[in-house]
Symmetry: C2
Amino acid sequence: MQGLMQHWPLLCSKVIDHAAHEYPLREVVSRSVEGPMHRTNYREVRERALKIAQLLEREGFGLGDRIATMAWNTWRHLECWYGITGIGAIYHTLNPRLFPEQIAWIMNDAEDKLLFVDLTFVPLVEALAPQIASLEKVIVLTDAAHMPETTLPNAVAYEEWLKGADGDFSWRVADENVAAGMCYTSGTTGHPKGVVYSHRSNVLHSMIAQAPDAMGLSSADRMLPIVPLFHANGWGIALTSPMSGAAMVMPGAKMDGASIYDILTTERVTLSAAVPTVWLMLLQHLETSGGELPDLKRVIIGGSACPRRVTEAFQNRYGVKVIHAWGMTEMSPLGTLCSIKPEYADLEGEALLALEEKQGFAPFGVEMKVTDDANVSLPRDGQSFGRLKVRGPAVAKAYYKNQGAEMFDDDGWFDTGDVAHIDPHGYMQITDRAKDVIKSGGEWISTIKIENLAVGHPGVAEAAVIGLRHPKWDERPLLVCVPKAGGSLTKDDLLGYLDGKIAKWWMPDDVVFVDEIPHTATGKIQKTALRKNFADYVLPTV
Amino acid sequence: MQGLMQHWPLLCSKVIDHAAHEYPLREVVSRSVEGPMHRTNYREVRERALKIAQLLEREGFGLGDRIATMAWNTWRHLECWYGITGIGAIYHTLNPRLFPEQIAWIMNDAEDKLLFVDLTFVPLVEALAPQIASLEKVIVLTDAAHMPETTLPNAVAYEEWLKGADGDFSWRVADENVAAGMCYTSGTTGHPKGVVYSHRSNVLHSMIAQAPDAMGLSSADRMLPIVPLFHANGWGIALTSPMSGAAMVMPGAKMDGASIYDILTTERVTLSAAVPTVWLMLLQHLETSGGELPDLKRVIIGGSACPRRVTEAFQNRYGVKVIHAWGMTEMSPLGTLCSIKPEYADLEGEALLALEEKQGFAPFGVEMKVTDDANVSLPRDGQSFGRLKVRGPAVAKAYYKNQGAEMFDDDGWFDTGDVAHIDPHGYMQITDRAKDVIKSGGEWISTIKIENLAVGHPGVAEAAVIGLRHPKWDERPLLVCVPKAGGSLTKDDLLGYLDGKIAKWWMPDDVVFVDEIPHTATGKIQKTALRKNFADYVLPTV
Ligand SMILES: Nc1ncnc2c1ncn2[C@@H]1O[C@H](COP(=O)(O)OP(=O)(O)OP(=O)(O)O)[C@@H](O)[C@H]1O
Ligand SMILES: Nc1ncnc2c1ncn2[C@@H]1O[C@H](COP(=O)(O)OP(=O)(O)OP(=O)(O)O)[C@@H](O)[C@H]1O
Ligand SMILES: [Mg+2]
Ligand SMILES: [Mg+2]
């Protein structure tokens, strides 16, 4: 017997319809790429999204077409998402920080037909366009006054283009399983892989994210998504904010410490989300400029492990609650968040900071387990680490064009490629990526743990640990370290600092000081490149 | 093109699996029907639900079977919901406060095969059982020691029955659209009508309820659902609490002011939900006994309009935030909640209380509009009132056996039978039920508005307004009033009190004092009965 409840498909259009109807005047404020601040609201975003949808359909785009965006976080990028999904086409966010060859490869893999591009990236895209056979047209996200001369195919200024529509249109999608969005992984461990979100997964992901122990967005919030819409589905914020009626404050192209501080305070942001490197820049700016953060209540930090000193500075110095989060492009992307359960409500000081180094627990809609190599679940004892596997309505079941099929188990679990342990209260901690793990004498050493400790030393700006071949132990750790400018850090200082904080056999066999550590396009440490750099390095213990 | 995301159906079993896995030791505390307090947790609730499912299947019950419960809110009732839905059977909650004939009619309509019943109701059910041809077996929710002698068919004590299972079982439902639960409406306006929830609607409803601007349940909460599981799907709390990891505190059979105060304070409840009459009893108890509510942070009040003096007492006297809510059995049941949007964040004192007389705004997942009789949408101006219509994934599309088909529009909107207006910020206020509206000289008078004002008079315990036939105006209002004990309230006092607070032509033509106003089984004023009582009453203005 079936239930007798309404058929109400979970569609992206329902989200912007809801926002426009229940929070019509809620602000969407952006630092425009042209310069000045721009103010609009959900009612207008929806109206303009309807125009986009109308124009796209008129120009022959439709169900399943991949439509790329290469753009900063602004109201225009937001409008594009809803316009594109409104006709059943697929927003495909491109990361402009990738190497041009990677971008071209990805666009060809996706067969993007149309591209919405910010002024910033016009030169980049002009160089790429001839290599993308599928690309029919480029819409530059600006007005006539700012439209550059360009060689781009069928180029038109967005605001001019929009004038061709009256917005008298209705959304076209009825099936919640239709594809809505596409995003390639960051390419930290190899080639980026395409993930294809559905309307259903996007909507459910945002309902999951809304919960108080997850992002906890409410209509009282003013949300600053610093994480770009092109990084891991923009952490879902382009859907979660309108769903919950939170105002959106968009940083545009400027994500340096001073600009972020400026927009945080001028726009009275209550909640923000970004990777650790962005927060490090802000904190450094605050240290030198002496500002305060009176409106900001919470920051969500993920994408890579949040160093303890970031959490400490936010909470103890600025009174801002840190929510450490873990996720993946393949998970839409939220996996776990480190809210405080009542079991840990009494923690203070160092004990609280230690808890918050963990990536947190799974909200309803995310299932997770840690298994050994034989796929046997390990106990939730906070010690036993192994492969982290997940399941849920917003988790990928395959990559686009069936790449990397080996990550998808027959039993429906997705192997994250991360190594982790889970404690008795469900708090998960990533100890490594499986590909970065160091195996010394048959036992695993957590590189993330050592790195987190090392960056706790006041003289260290950044640290990375990699494994080097060793005749006796198979692999031994090398600590690669960027010292803070003007310091006089030595190898012995650093090893002395680590001594007693980790097991003796985890101690790096050597420390190397460098000016720079290689990063990926999303600011993560690129250990593949680092290992290549040190391929011929000989450890003193060899 | 379809998305490439996992198939992860929205099932009730996912909720209890999540709770047992992520919050295994979170408490479920109940005042048992036998007397003593009982403590268990989500892990054990799930284990015992698996046993129930295993036994039900073994005894031949399965997909689509209606299995009734007539029980207070305790851990056992909760286990039954998950056990029953776990094999694709349907929990059918019976309201023991209905007239026995009504209960028999409902059980026959539903064709219940099995009944789980609390000790309290054994005599009632013994009298009913012979009339229910479909009823094969009755399980009494107690242990062997408390099992009474009974004539009930195949009666067995729950705890004895459970001993027959080892719980080595897996949930049986794969399709999220399968029916999960069944609840009849309260019967305020006529015969109760059957609503059939699906797994999908139940899960989505709880995800909607979790949002910060809705119930905002988190793992830090200790939730006391005073509203019975048999009233309007128990307001979804049996699912929302485990979903969010909140502890559950269950009042069992005792809902008087002293018992509620006792459990609130002893169990350090942070959040509770009940109809206004329950809260009136608690407030009266506090007034005479002088207690405080230090742990309680929020109360959700709905089912009928929350009188201003209840909100005032909670917020101004006890520091407890009131969330006025409106819902219906047909909506699973949440419709709107009166959280405070930033537009109203500066309201204080009387202005805030006036806002909180409204039933609030729609969260994502609830669509609403107010239309005139020609189904044309009325403006959201806070004035224009008309029929309130709703849509959403947790809204009924039909009643069981196709009763009341006229409530379901062809365009997919459900006519709530309520009359309301909506203000520019989306705050809806119920002015009446369509069937209770008074039409005087072609214009509508809101009975709820007058009643709310009347109960604001310190001498009034309860008030109801009904329309009586009038030769000139068609209908004119009569105010029926229960005075507070020991007072000396007069008609002129009351009319003088109303004077200036409502339009002249809204003033009741007469006031009648009575000892009691008739109520429905869920404590609502039964205007059908009241109108019958006053059918022959002659207004002085006639
Ligand atoms: N809070 C965190 N702490 C530690 N690691 C994190 C955290 N959040 C995310 N990560 C890492 O980021 C990964 C997800 O990142 P993303 O989807 O952007 O691509 P990537 O894994 O970096 O790239 P690729 O999969 O192409 O190699 C996770 O699998 C995890 O390794
Ligand atoms: N906060 C509230 N203020 C005013 N009325 C409310 C409120 N909450 C619920 N109601 C009323 O209760 C109704 C829903 O109640 P329920 O589903 O329990 O059955 P009922 O409508 O009383 O009975 P029946 O439909 O059988 O006549 C709503 O339609 C509305 O009239
Ligand atoms: Mg990855
Ligand atoms: Mg009703």
